[in-house]
């Protein structure tokens, strides 16, 4: 079994109001060094497959078709043994 950790993030040009609100809260708490917060999604996908090349292809297909919306999001992932 292999596990993929997939991160789906908003493209830089897409406004992230949620990140902005979190940043404002951090400033209120006194964390003045924080200059930007971007919220994103993380998925843990477990796969029953052995060949690394196949897994990569499958994950990229899953991201392109389902997990990420290419208009507004990009993704990256890491694969590790369970």
């Amino acid at each position: 079994m292999q596990k993929a950790t997939i991160y789906v993030t908003l493209k830089p040009q897409v406004l992230d109001p949620q990140g902005k609100v979190i940043m404002n809260a951090l400033h209120t708490l006194g964390y003045k060094n924080v200059t930007e917060v971007r919220a994103s999604k993380m998925f843990e996908v477990t796969l029953d497959a052995k060949d690394d090349a196949d897994i990569k292809q499958e994950i990229e297909e899953i991201c392109d078709k389902v997990l990420a919306n290419p208009n507004i999001e990009t993704y990256y992932y890491k694969i590790h043994d369970e």
């Binding site: 040009q13 897409v14 406004l15 109001p17 949620q18 609100v21 389902v66 997990l67 919306n69 208009n71 507004i72």
Partner: protein, 230 residues
């Protein structure tokens, strides 16, 4: 004239759309369950508002994989009229029948209120009986209505006159103050290049029966009817 209204798990404006098209407009209407694999000979398909699949992942993202959507896409590609309202608009962008994406409202709040929208394109099957730049009172109720598209996409929408509705005030002013959700150019509704697919965040089915406080939404259904029957 016959409507088909698609129902997904989580649709909640399906009956409103049914009531208006059947009882107020006198059209023939049939519901179509999302698991169905064929439409019921419609002139116009309505994808109603609601929270299909609980808005999981992204609003409209899971609904695009429902079996009936293949048929809706085929119908649209043949020139059939497809009207997506609110969550229906989100489904249409996810299926790529319409460009762009509906992001979370800039305020992060769910907005539910009466809203003025300007009809900036009256050369569509959905708006042809309305005067250009006429202001309509059609309510909005959404969490993800903040229309986003990249620069090239926006230019293409403008060049091809695909913007149909823009948020405004009673006098028709379009600016940041009259923008409820942060949408680019105050966009409230767009059509595809061919003009047969419309997505709109405001709810015409909630402003057709005068008891709702506005009957401006009727204009959309009257336009469709006249377009089909003429």
């Amino acid at each position: 004239m016959k409507y088909n209204i698609i129902i997904f798990p989580g649709s909640n404006c399906d009956y409103d759309a049914y009531f208006v098209t059947k009882n107020l407009m006198g059209a023939e209407v049939e519901y179509v369950w999302h698991k169905d694999t064929s439409l019921k000979y419609p002139d116009c398909v309505i994808i109603p508002g609601g929270f299909s699949y609980g808005d999981y992942l992204r609003a409209g993202a899971i609904a695009k994989f429902s079996p009936i959507m293949k048929e809706v896409i085929t119908f649209a590609n043949k020139g059939g009229l497809v009207l997506g309202i609110c969550n229906g608009f989100q489904v249409l962008t996810e299926t790529k029948l319409l460009p762009g994406t509906l992001l979370q409202n800039k305020s992060l709040l769910f907005i539910c209120k009466h809203q003025y929208v300007k009809v900036v394109n009256n050369k569509t099957p959905y708006t042809h009986i309305i005067e250009k730049n006429q202001v309509l009172d059609i309510p909005i109720a959404h969490n993800e209505g903040n229309f986003f598209i990249d620069e090239d996409g926006l230019k293409s929408l403008q060049d091809d006159q695909q913007i149909v509705f823009q948020y405004c005030d009673k006098e028709g002013h379009i600016d940041d103050i009259t923008n409820p959700n942060g949408s680019m150019l105050n966009i409230a509704g767009i059509v595809n290049k061919q003009g047969n697919v419309l997505g709109m965040m405001p709810h015409p089915e909630r402003s057709s029966d005068p008891i709702c406080g506005s009957k401006d939404g009727q204009n959309i259904f009257l336009s469709i009817m006249e377009f089909i029957e003429k």
